[in-house]
């Protein structure tokens, strides 16, 4: 089956610091990876869509300068939240696309103090 692991599951960082989160597809090769943030109200915000060997496409209100993404191969992607502030809190989800379906990891929950 298609499994997606995200690490860490939870993290707390001080306001103004940065943290990196990882996403690993296991058992399949993801044609693309979508990074989402889910708010406490459970709404999903697409941050960026990353396809190996293609430019990463960021959605409005999200930038590479704030959320740099690395996607070196078909099974791994990482994203960093730079200079995290309170409004960056939430559950960061990695969705790996395989055979027309998006498979999600359990997410990285970011808390900012």
């Amino acid at each position: 089956g298609a499994l997606v692991y995200q690490y860490p599951r939870r993290t707390i960082c001080k306001s103004g610091t940065s943290m990196r989160m990882e996403c690993q597809a296991v058992g399949f090769q993801a044609t693309s990876v979508a990074w989402y943030r889910q708010s406490p109200q459970k709404t999903f915000e697409l941050i960026a869509l990353s396809t190996v060997n293609s430019a990463i496409k960021y959605e409005q209100n999200f930038t590479q300068e704030k959320f740099p993404i690395s996607h070196p191969n078909l099974s791994f992607s990482s994203m960093t939240v730079l200079n995290a502030y309170l409004e960056d809190r939430g559950l960061y989800l990695c969705g790996a696309r395989w055979q027309n379906t998006l498979y999600f990891g359990a997410g990285t929950r970011l808390s900012v103090l």
Partner: protein, 114 residues
Amino acid sequence: QQQVRQSPQSLTVWEGETAILNCSYEDSTFNYFPWYQQFPGEGPALLISISSVSDKKEDGRFTIFFNKREKKLSLHITDSQPGDSATYFCAARGNVGDNSKLIWGLGTSLVVNP
């Protein structure tokens, strides 16, 4: 403007009953509709999906009914179990450009009481 709408926002049923979760969409070019199940503290997991060429998709106790003309679909959970208590998200997407992004509803929170 919410392109994918879900109702009700929350639903409570008794064990053994059928839970009906509704979803509607705006963009007539959407052609793929996955439903995701999310438990607290977890990421969303694909439950069942349907493409616009079908009007029904069944997988065990879960069935999607799709009405392309009315741009509506519903997820029926028969013989509901307490373990089905979760938030259910309806999503939609098309094939081309921005239309190929997955658009999410706001979810229906389902509680199944024993």
